[in-house]
């Protein structure tokens, strides 16, 4: 995606996300207040974010590629266990990965 197509996607995704928020305010309360709806929505978020972790950490150009990113991700997990704030978690992953690459690893 580039240029105008990317712009269109940005705007469309933004409008869609806003519409979803608005629906929650406009629909009759009992429609969305069902436990099963809440459960499916929660699991969809978990599945998407987990899949994004995997794709971002272990694939490149349509192939599974294992490299220094995994060590960075592992370090991020340690930071999360230690209850580090979001920014620290992200920085730890970047620093560990950058150091390993500086040392010559892929």
């Amino acid at each position: 995606m580039k240029g105008a197509v990317l712009w269109l996607a940005v705007v469309a995704a933004g409008v869609a996300t806003f519409a979803i928020k608005l629906v929650g305010h406009l629909l009759p309360r009992h429609w969305l207040a069902k436990p099963q709806v809440a459960r499916v929505a929660a699991l969809v978020t978990v599945a998407l974010l987990s899949a994004l972790v995997a794709v971002q950490a272990a694939t490149r150009g349509g192939h599974v590629v294992l490299d220094s990113r995994l060590a960075g991700l592992g370090a991020a997990a340690v930071a999360l266990v230690a209850k580090a704030p979001f920014v620290v978690v992200v920085l730890v992953a970047a620093v560990v990965t950058a150091l390993l690459r500086w040392a010559g690893l892929p």
Binding site: M1, V5, L6, A9, V10, V11, A13, G14, A16, T17, I20, K21, L22, V23, G24, H25, L27, R29, L32, A33, P35, V37, R39, V40, A41, A42, L43, V44, T45, V46, A47, L48, L49, S50, A51, L52, V53, A54, Q56, A57, A58, H63, V64, S68, R69, G72, L73, A76, P85, F86, V87, V89, V90, V92, A93, A94, V96, A98, L99, R101
Partner: protein, 244 residues
């Protein structure tokens, strides 16, 4: 300052700050500074924004990027019914309330005991996060714009870590952990054969399947019922603890 406003300010600061990582990673993923700002202003939902740049940055189609961002944002629809009775707004202000309905404002608003504090908590958190998130997104985008090769600085791993940090507090029960594991397997095993972005959406389909089938098994063991009850309790607790 009331305790609701104090909470709002601290949550807004913590959340706004990670707008830096979003701004930087968005530019690294191939969006320009303006497109990055458009996401923070219009989409204004961290998980959806990271999802969009994650799919766009790995060569996904516009449809896959839009669908992934929207699906990650589905939970925001469930916050409306919790927030609307607290703030009781009508007319155009409903549009503003809807835009500010995110994880953090819902958490702070619903955690208050009296109605005035709930309204203050929701609006102060929503407005505070909006201002700081956008300001720090701009800072991050400008920093990211001046960084050279993103891989050299480990920024590809940073993006993965951002997703991990977003999903981490949601993994408090067995079902969520099982779905997370299945999502990873589905995404990695289908990556070589499907267009970029589609494996992530396929993982969401697995979650829908699990969420629906769970209920439709009346013979489910007692342990299942207990686990499901605990998971609902856990998700309520999560919403009540800002910044967790």
């Amino acid at each position: 300052m009331s305790s609701a406003v104090r909470q709002a300010v601290s949550v807004a600061l913590a959340t706004g700050l990670y707008g830096v990582s979003f701004g930087a990673l968005s530019v690294v993923a191939g969006l320009d500074v303006w497109q990055t700002m458009a996401l923070s202003l219009v989409m204004f939902s961290g998980g959806s924004q990271f999802a969009f740049i994650g799919v766009a940055g790995s060569g996904g189609s516009p449809g896959a990027a839009i669908a992934t961002a929207a699906l990650v944002g589905l939970r925001n629809a469930l916050y409306g019914p919790q927030v609307a009775p607290l703030i009781e707004v009508t007319g155009p202000r409903r549009l503003l309330a809807a835009q500010l309905t995110i994880d953090e404002s819902t958490a702070v608003g619903t955690a208050q005991r009296d109605p005035a504090a709930a309204r203050a908590g929701f609006w102060w958190t929503g407005a505070g996060v909006f201002l700081l998130w956008n300001a720090f997104t701009l800072v991050g985008a400008l920093v990211g714009d001046s960084a050279g090769d993103p891989r050299r600085y480990g920024l590809d791993a940073a993006a993965a870590a951002a997703f991990l940090a977003l999903v981490w507090p949601r993994l408090s029960n067995r079902t969520a952990q099982a779905v997370a594991g299945a999502a990873v397997v589905v995404a990695l095993s289908t990556t070589p054969v499907l267009p970029s972005g589609v494996p992530v959406l396929l993982a969401a389909a697995v979650a829908v399947l699990v969420g629906v089938l769970w209920r439709s098994r009346p013979a489910a063991a007692v342990t299942d019922a207990v686990a499901s009850h605990q998971s609902e309790g856990a998700s309520v607790r999560r919403v009540e603890e800002p910044g967790s």
